[in-house]
């Protein structure tokens, strides 16, 4: 496995590119922005507020390499408060959204970064990643993907969940 690492400073946006040309970008969303965004998507205020407090980032990946890449969010790891665990995928939010209108649930689902996606050369995708941590929590993140048949991992340390 190839490993790349980066020290992220506070909650600033970070953009990186692997040796083969896969670009990864992560950018924090303030809780107030998140709450307003999901209210506008039709989620009830209590749910939009709960999501806004759960450490929300914008994530973008672009495959500028010469081969397809396979990205599976379930293989990403988050380390915070002395524990390491996988990043939660779309299904993990079903219970929280149980009471939301069907259209708003669908809208929420499609705003999230895809759980499992293959990007062809030149393709890119974006979405929201929710790390389910309290505001202000410091954490590190390891993202990974398969690139040209090989696992590539990218570690970002000293990230911090956005606060208002």
């Amino acid at each position: 496995m190839k490993a790349l690492s980066w020290l992220a400073v506070g909650i600033l946006a970070v953009s990186l590119k692997s040796a083969q040309g896969v670009a990864f970008h992560i950018d924090p969303h303030r809780p107030s922005w998140v709450e307003a965004f999901y209210l506008a998507r039709g989620l009830p205020r209590s749910i939009a507020h709960a999501i806004s407090q759960a450490c929300v980032f914008h994530v973008r990946m672009e495959n500028r390499s010469q081969a397809p890449i396979h990205v599976r969010v379930e293989r990403w790891r988050i380390k915070a408060l002395g524990k390491e665990r996988p990043v939660k995928g779309r299904k993990a939010w079903d219970a929280l959204l149980k009471e939301a209108p069907k259209a708003a649930r669908a809208s929420f689902y499609w705003t999230l970064f895809p759980d499992d996606i293959i990007l062809q050369p030149g393709e890119g995708i974006m979405g929201i990643a929710i790390f389910d941590l309290p505001p202000g929590t410091p954490f590190s993140l390891t993202v990974s993907w398969q690139e040209d048949g090989e696992d590539v991992a990218l570690s970002l340390s000293d990230l911090r969940c956005p606060t208002s």
Partner: protein, 169 residues
């Protein structure tokens, strides 16, 4: 000499942009496109199977999605070419309120049909994983191409890929 170097640099930049332009990805096995019946902004219902015999481009998008917004102008320019070729194009908005979609369409002066998948039931039956995702369906109703993420839809090579399906055996 200086203008020659600037010209050379421009050629290199343009060449690299052309090389970087992702084309459409062929979908293995050309699976049958899932049918749908969705309303446009005037309330007229469009059923995919009614367009059998035509090439149909289907773009799944949402107004909040930055890359979706980015590709809309090129999709409109592509539509001006494709409609003359007898090719259909639908932009299917995913899980949004009609008013938000209407405002966006009016602001960007989009003339292709925009359909509303208000509860996300249609996109769930396709293989899309994120937005935007676009499919090209051949006259036999099979998915031939897929594009994940945005494209410059009026790029000549992409238009050629789509138009060529009219002639495909």
């Amino acid at each position: 000499m200086r203008s020659f170097l600037i010209g050379l640099l421009l050629v290199v930049i343009l060449f690299s942009l052309v090389l970087a332009m992702p084309s459409l990805t062929e979908v293995p096995g050309h699976p049958k496109a899932p049918d749908f019946a969705l309303p446009d902004l005037d309330g007229k219902v469009h059923r995919l199977s009614d367009y059998r015999g035509k090439v149909v481009v289907i773009n799944f998008w949402a107004t909040w999605c930055p890359p979706c917004r980015k590709e809309m102008p090129s999709l409109e320019r592509a539509w001006q070419v494709l409609r003359k070729e007898g090719i259909m194009l639908f932009a299917i908005d995913v899980a949004e309120d009609e008013n938000a979609v209407f405002a966006f369409v009016a602001e960007h002066d989009l003339s292709f049909p925009v359909l509303l998948d208000e509860e996300g039931g249609v996109i769930g039956r396709w293989s899309a994983k994120g937005l935007p995702t676009t499919y090209v369906v051949d006259p036999e109703g099979r998915i031939v191409y897929k594009a994940t993420g945005p494209r410059e839809w009026d790029d000549a090579s992409i238009l050629e890929q789509i138009i060529a399906l009219k002639r495909a055996p």
